[in-house]
Subunit: 376 residues, 2 copies
């Protein structure tokens, strides 16, 4: 989706350039999700979730093993999270929506980690009050996704330090600075908080095991940029006597502008969960597309959905129906569907989705306590 | 006290060689405690504590400033601590005894930090259960010193992480790995927990300020080997809007063997607070002394108290009376006092002290909750 000339960078703190997901699988040493694996999941789910069907979740580590365990009667926990550095946009919600699906299918307990400590440590301007407030604000979006309150615990890193720090110490003792340096590109000028932080992010992988005394497998649905954390955590796990956490990795939802990940730091390129309808309309109306510069040219040569954020929103999130999606694709390719019309169609779907989400988000304010790891 | 041939090493984790305290003042960039400063303290205390009178506390940072503050009506807190890696020996208690004196004189609140996290992180064989148990055991010795329960809070790093971690994050954000590397000699092979730890050890300096919202000065009585922590903390303090913590540094009580600091890892060189009378007698009887190899030679040439642990025990801890101490010194020098007799005299005093201490230590078991930062 981005300019060809820009170098691909994928780290937990930066995603830039044209993302080559096949190359990421090779470089990160993960496994592609095969058709066989999809069939196994479909067998349990009864259906194949849009995000699997369309390859948004594309890579994994030990997903086959997690299924082996599950099929032999051993439960696993889910773990995903959020770095609360601002309001939530639709791109953030992709792995959450999928995680809810997995919770529904496998009946798994979910630990959702809010890394307000991390965001405080990497952003020179953030206070702990600021990242805490983001964490509580963002938790409303998490709850609005519809996770099972009985099976979901939201961890607030700073407020839950009493349990988190203890386990992080066990992890930290097994990780050297060399390892962190190599995995995250940290340097001697990095602050000692962010150097320690990977131990904190590892904790939810082992939390269920620590709390129950059993060795409980863990599956992490998350965007591929978080993988360096899990590589390190997987090395540490056997040293603590625990299973290595399994992962399932998703791609990034492209921004509405030309290029790259949707970014909260460029508000016009992303749709926030609290955006009112008129803002949604404006942002989509101003979006970059794969269309031609004039209607005449567009009708003559057709558009290019493969570089079009408007198409990608349908593809990744808003058009459940494969036939309808295919129709949109064909009509765009042959110039029949004009970008303006496509934008209006998409805006309707997004507005409808957000109207529902915002209602649930409002209701979530009364449910917070049901979801927090530590009750207020 | 140690062999001349051994290089002096003084870090928070290692003390070895012949300790040259004047050189330490220069190398660490601290200030010697002057006669004027002693007079100012004496004015407040009404007397000059043995440990000041005899130069056991010999160096400081900003002690004059703390007295300025106090004299202008601004209260300060005291902060000292213990790395719970085993049972407490008499050497550990020197700064605690002095800290109690300061609490009595200045009416200060004391934060006493048990760094069970640190000891877990640096010792490959220690579990968190082990260091926690040491912390609770050692707390009994702290309480037995007689601190004011109303003004003393013992912090257990791991169990009190809820408050400690939050403040440590603020400190950690201002410290780079380069700084830690230079101050402590850590390397890229150091674990990320111990790299983060200096932020934890800094917390009690700012705890009263964080809890009250005032900027409260802090004075740290501690052995000089802990100084690197305070150097870093002093750099961070103004960045957080707090006063730099002041320090008053003590020397190490020599071990009963030939050379160096009393060490819990060599049990025969130190007297533990729980040693029964017969063990005290044996350890002192087997101690190295400054005496001559035979009684005849000793009576002829006299002993050398300047290299004698038995004399140092009197000097630093057990002979309050300056005239009696001087008499012992002279009788040793002129050969009149035989080492065996001196050992018997010292053993009596140590046994008497420990009998009292052990009683208070037993009673402390019922008082723990009064002293813990977080009540059980």
């Amino acid at each position: 989706m981005a300019g060809d000339d820009e170098e691909m960078i994928v780290t937990p703190w930066e995603v830039a350039g044209r993302i080559d997901y096949s190359r990421l699988i090779k470089e990160f040493g993960t496994q592609p999700i095969t058709k066989d694996l999809l069939k196994r999941i479909e067998k349990h789910a009864g259906t194949l979730h849009l995000q699997l069907r369309r390859g948004l979740f594309f890579s994994h580590r030990d997903l086959d093993w997690i299924l082996d365990m599950y099929e032999s009667g051993i439960r696993f926990v889910l773990y995903t999270g959020r770095g609360p550095s601002g309001p939530v946009h639709i791109g953030h919600m992709i792995p959450w929506i999928f995680t809810k699906h997995l919770q529904d299918v496998f009946g798994s307990k979910l630990y959702f980690q809010m890394t307000d400590d991390e965001k405080f440590l990497i952003n020179p301007d953030f206070t702990l009050e600021k990242t805490r407030n983001f964490a509580y604000d963002n938790a409303l979006d998490v709850i609005a996704v519809g996770f099972d309150a009985k099976k979901t615990k939201i961890i607030m890193d700073v407020e839950d330090a009493e349990i988190i720090y203890r386990i992080a110490l066990k992890v930290a003792k097994k990780i050297t600075f060399s390892t962190i340096k190599a995995a995250f590109g940290l340097t001697e000028s990095s602050n000692i908080g962010i150097i320690f932080f990977p131990a904190i992010q590892a904790v939810p992988c082992f939390l269920e095991s620590e709390l129950t005394g059993e060795n409980v497998p863990c599956l992490i649905p998350a965007a591929i940029d978080q993988d360096p954390y899990w590589r390190i955590t997987r090395d540490v796990a056997p040293k603590l006597g625990y299973f290595k956490p399994a992962q399932i990795h998703c791609k990034f939802l492209p921004g509405l502008g030309k290029g790259g990940k949707m970014s909260a730091s460029m508000p016009e390129t992303c749709i926030f969960t609290t955006d009112p309808p008129e803002v949604v309309e404006r942002k989509i109306w101003n979006a970059f597309t794969g269309g031609k510069p004039t209607i005449k040219e567009h009708k003559l040569h057709g558009g290019d959905p493969s570089i079009c954020p408007v198409y990608y929103y349908d593809y990744y999130l808003f058009e459940e129906d494969d036939d309808k999606l295919n129709e949109t694709y064909m009509k765009c390719r042959n110039g029949e569907l004009l970008c303006g019309d496509h934008k209006i169609m998409l805006a309707e779907k997004v507005k409808k989705f957000l109207k529902e989400h915002q209602k649930k988000r409002e209701k979530a304010k009364d449910k917070l306590d049901d979801y927090l790891f530590k009750k207020k």
